[in-house]
Symmetry: C2
Subunit: 204 residues, 2 copies
Amino acid sequence: MTAISNKIINRLTLYHCILKYTAKDQTNISSFEIADLLNLNDSLVRKDIALCGVLGHKKQGYFIDDLKKAIEQKLGFTEHKEVFVIGAGNLGTALVKYADFKDYGIDILALFDNNVDKIGQEVNGKRVLALKKLEDLVARINVKNVILAVPPQVAQEVTDYAVKCGVRFIWNFTPTVLKVPKSVTVYYENIVSSFMQMRNSTIS
Amino acid sequence: MTAISNKIINRLTLYHCILKYTAKDQTNISSFEIADLLNLNDSLVRKDIALCGVLGHKKQGYFIDDLKKAIEQKLGFTEHKEVFVIGAGNLGTALVKYADFKDYGIDILALFDNNVDKIGQEVNGKRVLALKKLEDLVARINVKNVILAVPPQVAQEVTDYAVKCGVRFIWNFTPTVLKVPKSVTVYYENIVSSFMQMRNSTIS
DNA sequence: TAGATTGTTAATCGATTAACAATC
DNA sequence: TAGATTGTTAATCGATTAACAATC
């Protein structure tokens, strides 16, 4: 299985959205239809799909059920990954309630926060725990992935603590760049950057 | 001014985060330091910075204040852009409360929702209005940019209505691909895709 | 001075597009 | 049959990296 680039992953995810919602009433879809919805080149769409091991049909395009399953397989929707959320503020809460997360293989187990008013509460059926319990939980249930959704001012400090607890993967929703040892990976969910990209290609 | 690619915008935004938080106690920073924090090639960093019109200094790197201002200028942080948020659920609310948005030139004016319990309330000082008032507001204050944060099941329907109201730019936070006329631009904030990217490069 | 670091060129690498034969 | 659409090759385009002279 060849490595699959982030750009391709991004497109495959969008194709999946089309199959799940936009084209849910059709049985087939052509590379032209997909390309048109996303403003892509049709050859590119066919190449991406070929990568998933799906064969199309002349004059008919691709069967939606097949393609949808193939993308789910390729991207691993069914191999669930467990994560903790650090920060039970608005964003952390929104992520925990994000309806479709579970469908895509993201299992949020619990939230962590320092705020005594929040500790002990439940969000969408998940407990909010004291941050100081993180070390114990990482060790006990061996979950080393966290979503970081704290205020940017404390992001580094919380990260240092999380790394000390044994966390290895950080999905960073704060607008900060984190200093971590080489053994820890940070993924930047750069909302501000998308806004800049959007602004740059708009006029009004 | 040459067009600046989305990849470069993304990196410049991350450099800005470094200058604002990670390196806030330094006066200078080298391309090596930035490259190291983000796992990038140092030549690439220097090229990006050159694009902002900033000159570095041998042995000292770049002056943080200069570089920060140059990035803000290049990306247009100060040219504020006004947007409406459609959907006053968890995600919409979290976005409206997103502390630093305003610093980056995003001005959220109001929220729109269909839920009578929410209409009339305030979120972070912004009014929640009935969705049916969108047409009037778009016409009256000439704001044609919206952030879409509704459940995926109704995303297309709400989009059709928004387009009818005159909306031209949609920053789509729902996991859907939208059918829109060619005159309307959709930006996909693909949270699920980042998760897939993250999963693909991790083991545990 | 020696070392650090820039700015920039040329080389490389990877991603996208164009084109088209195959065929349903 | 004629038209639509795939799968794939070769050509193009764009982005990244390597290398290094310049110089503080």
